[in-house]
Symmetry: C2
Subunit: 421 residues, 2 copies
């Protein structure tokens, strides 16, 4: 299968893009005169961007959208989240993840980093959606009744099962957080990750409560604690990281730990808002952007998340030049590819053909003196018109195959989950 | 002309809405069996909301979208805004305002509060667009060469000219700010406003620089200064109000001054982010929401502005229950109607027929347990499908008459403005 995208704007110039299999094979002007492709897409009045990379989400939590908002964190978790997560079936998780994939396709995201329950159902949903993902199953060991082998058995099982899916799906390890996973399990996970070259995806230093409790329990702040048990490594992806000092930033940098900023979720849950992007960047840390799950950020629109990352970065520093659109866009694309170790995030020959075409025929791009500025500050995910992942067209003219059925089944699953009907 | 909207969701129940002329005449279930209308709209799988009210913008600045971002305030104003504002022609302003009206229609806003140059051109644009607006011409008197009568003559002239437009357009007075308008002119404006029962629209206490300079110049903070010269009144609408203490909030409340929160602009320009919504509400101040102009917030999407108002309100207070979606939505609708003294902001019999229908057939509303939460936290303006203003359909199935031409002409106007070609 080959695709030729004709006359599409890239960095303010019209180009043709030739995709062969799942790779961007050639880019340039006038390619269409030389090359014949199975499918031709007219890119006129559209701009091409790398598919966005959502570096932290809990996909199937789309089912929880609007289910508990404007609540205290404790009440929200204990009344609205945990009792229902305990009732989730494979089928519910499958449809929740299908809905998440649909929403990501509709808003230009082609790759995401997930952590949730029932990974097999999620893998099936991602496989069928056509997206690319790094998937981890949540690991917890807060109960006292489980032994290490009780806990590691399902991880190994998930890892084994992940092998049956295509290479769009990458297995990762998902220890939930320092307050829900013991030192021994963290150490086992690190060692398993090293032996199998797997990424580790965890939450870190998200709230002051986590910070204070960690200091109480271990005499160390969250980052220092993870460092003390040898967990900081280039394989580690940490979401949030709102509460840290310059020494901790240096520790993350020294160990090439990857950090994911989730601005919407952090603001909405009032976890904190002083994300130290510039300090991290200055130390060479690769920072990505995530939406977090739909129970805390309510949508999976990476363009909105990137805008809010830029706005809040300027606001808390009292500096309108901070967190500029171009840098935040790089976090949402190039850095995402690096963090998830996928050959994506750039529209460039040799990269995987994970692309989105943005419709310029809208008020957000009128006038269009600065495409990236318009994309981040004026547009939304809905301005994406066409999405290609792994060389396959997943959306064209905003239509995704099966979308009505996915929304219908996700609604039914959510009703079953919350109202048992 | 009469319109019947059949089977549309309102507060979680399906209703029919009958519009006669420009008024919501009747609402209820089963109306369609009794009433014949000139036009029937099928509201199935749609929800009705009051048209959003954008309480502070500079409409024609859509032309400046993406023209200067991520810059220091001084450089931005002196290099990117002022030299080009000086070159604006009536035609440019007309097309900029047409583009703004198009964007507002496309995102569910039916009424707005504007302050800009060349009010006659803007009035024409608004009149033709079908929207409702309170329009003020900017008044400045920072130059030393002008007398009071030099300055008030064009205000009276604008007021007179405004009479030729329909009652969708309301004339207001637009003294720019305390640092650009003298005490004498403010006092003249207040007296003229009282005599003619006109609203006054100004910027107030937007930045620390404004605050400090006001204290230096007058020995008083901005709100105290306006109070000292007798300007605080129920006719006064003040945009921003980020820097004030509880005594100043009490002054605003005592005088029934209306306050407009512009979260996106405040964050992007790093003007401040601790908008004291709850303190103002507790004192009985009517708070509205605005997008500000497209040079500082980049779009006119009131749903996005309302979301960001909610997010930042929770974040800086460290309280996830603060600024809940329902209250912020009320600010963006009901309060907007009160602030602009228009009989709008509610879907209710006897109110003006300024409505938006939201398409529920999208991921943002899947599942749909809490419509307002989904609208504010998950959707964008693009989820609006149909817009009615003053009993006239301005958008149906996301199509607005003449939209291509408006975008084309606005682009040409912007090119002429910035590149002289």
């Amino acid at each position: 299968m080959s695709i030729l995208i004709k006359n599409v704007f890239f960095k303010e110039e019209p180009v043709d893009i030739y995709i062969e299999g799942n790779i961007i094979k050639q880019m340039g002007q006038g390619l269409s005169a030389q090359i014949r492709a199975d499918k031709v897409i007219d890119g006129t009045n559209k701009a091409v961007i790398a598919g966005l990379v959502n570096c932290h989400t809990h996909s199937a939590m789309t089912l929880f959208r609007g289910w508990g908002d404007d609540m205290e964190l404790e009440a929200w978790l204990s009344e609205k989240i945990w009792p229902y997560e305990a009732r989730l079936t494979d089928e519910m998780v499958y449809w929740g993840a299908r809905l998440a994939c649909l929403e990501m396709i509709k808003t230009g995201t082609t790759c995401f980093n997930d952590m949730y329950w029932k990974m097999d159902a999620i893998s099936t949903a991602v496989e069928e959606s056509g997206l690319r993902a790094v998937l981890s199953s949540v690991t917890l060991d807060s109960s006292n009744t489980q032994t290490v082998s009780d806990i590691v058995a399902p991880i190994k099982e998930s890892h084994k099962k992940a092998g049956k899916f295509s290479d769009r799906i990458t297995f990762a390890l998902g220890p939930h957080a320092i307050y829900t996973v013991s030192k021994d399990i963290f150490k086992w996970i690190d060692s398993y990750s090293k032996d199998n070259n797997l990424l580790i995806h965890t939450h870190l230093s998200e709230t002051p409560t986590e910070y204070d409790n960690c200091v109480k329990a271990h005499g160390l702040s969250p980052v220092r604690y993870l460092n003390s048990i040898g967990l900081l490594s280039p394989r580690l992806i940490v979401a949030h990281c709102l509460w840290l000092d310059s020494e901790e930033i240096q520790m993350l940098a020294d160990n090439d730990v990857k950090v994911v900023h989730n601005p919407n979720s952090n603001l909405k849950l009032a976890s904190g808002y002083k994300f130290k992007y510039h300090e991290m960047k200055d130390k060479g840390i690769t920072v990505g952007i995530g939406t977090d799950g739909c129970s805390s950020s309510n949508n999976l629109d990476m363009i909105e998340a990137t805008k809010v990352a830029s706005l809040i970065g300027k606001a808390w520093r009292d500096d309108p030049t901070a967190t500029p659109a171009k840098e935040m866009f790089k976090c949402a694309t190039v850095n995402g590819g690096i963090i998830l170790r996928q050959n994506v995030g750039k529209v460039k020959e040799g990269y995987l053909a994970d692309l989105a075409l943005v419709d310029l025929n809208s008020t957000a791009f009128t006038p269009n003196f600065n495409f990236i500025s318009n994309l981040i500050y004026a547009a939304h995910g809905d301005n994406v018109d066409t999405v290609i992942c792994n060389g396959k067209i997943l959306m064209e003219n905003r239509h995704v195959e099966g979308e009505e059925e996915i929304m219908r089944m996700a609604t039914l699953s959510a009703r079953k989950l919350f109202f048992n009907k």
